[in-house]
Symmetry: C2
Subunit: 182 residues, 2 copies
């Protein structure tokens, strides 16, 4: 029988180890400042998954304490590298999921008042402006990174900027309509 396919979080971890991240802590820090906006991971997933990947023979860990502080560093096994490369092959239907509460509120906004609708779009814009600022602050460090991370950052910035601009334009448009109605 074929090996069980990589779990969602398993894929990030394998990739991160391939990029040279060693410990669970290290992976988590890096995820938070690089893939977080399109693929998050929590400690509660990372540490158990590191175990499973090791049990499956895809990574190996060695204890490398820093002083008296426990630390396990991981690297890919040949099987792990193969699994990663297999996963990296293009697929017909790559997973794509969005859960956006702002948009849900916008969808139902006819239930409330026109002012509430505008206020919600404003809140949506402000939230994406914060994300955008975060992404932009990573731009300098990204300049020294390989093309992959640079490209995802570029796309992320473009996407969030697009949302911010749509919100700003829509806020104006709806405000005008409200004024005309008075």
């Amino acid at each position: 029988m074929p090996p069980p396919p990589l779990t969602p979080t398993g894929r990030v971890i394998l990739g991160m180890i391939a990029l040279g991240r060693q410990s669970g802590y290290d992976i988590k820090q890096f995820v938070d400042k690089s893939t977080r906006h399109f693929w998050a991971a929590s400690y509660g997933q990372i540490y158990p998954e590191l175990r499973r990947l090791e049990d499956a023979g895809l990574i190996t860990g060695q204890s490398e304490p820093t002083g008296g502080r426990a630390r396990t560093v991981y690297e890919l096994t040949p099987a792990g590298r193969t699994a990663l490369q297999d996963w990296l092959e293009p697929e017909a239907d790559p997973m794509f999921e969005v859960r956006d509460e702002s948009m849900l509120k916008l969808f139902f906004s006819d239930i409330g008042t026109p002012e509430q609708r505008i206020a919600n779009i404003r809140a949506m814009r402000e939230s994406h402006e914060r994300t955008l600022a975060q992404l932009c602050s990573h731009e300098e460090q990204a300049a020294e990174m390989p093309a992959g991370p640079r490209l995802t950052l570029e796309l992320g910035i473009g996407l969030h900027r697009g949302i911010v601009e749509w919100c700003a334009a829509t806020e104006r448009r709806l405000a005008e309509e409200t004024n005309r109605a008075d």
Copy 2:
């Protein structure tokens, strides 16, 4: 003690019932052609959640069979309407989550070949082109809908079009770089 806050799926259901959707089946169909691209829901969530919402007194269901075919139609209670309106108030941090396997592959694409990177971006583009086509096919029906659904559809189309265009441009850019290197 305050009532338990609405669960994620509870919010869609409450909103859908407010928009006049009656049965679980009806809600599911409508979610699939309207909010699916930013908020999905499955039968496995919907039917148990309808029960919970009824137990919590936010909706009431009545049996209205169509011929010999069982059917339960729901409507909001006053408490349900209040809960919905409370949720509809703007929040500081509305939930926003993305899980995009294409971007993850792009992020790790330095592990593979330049050709593989381009192939993955192409697959990503094609997948978003399919979504875009789906969204565009709903545009006519949306014209008769209230402003909320119209706005989310407009934003969705803009977003997916933005991704498609970025992919197309990046495919060209990377292909040129590859050619220059030869």
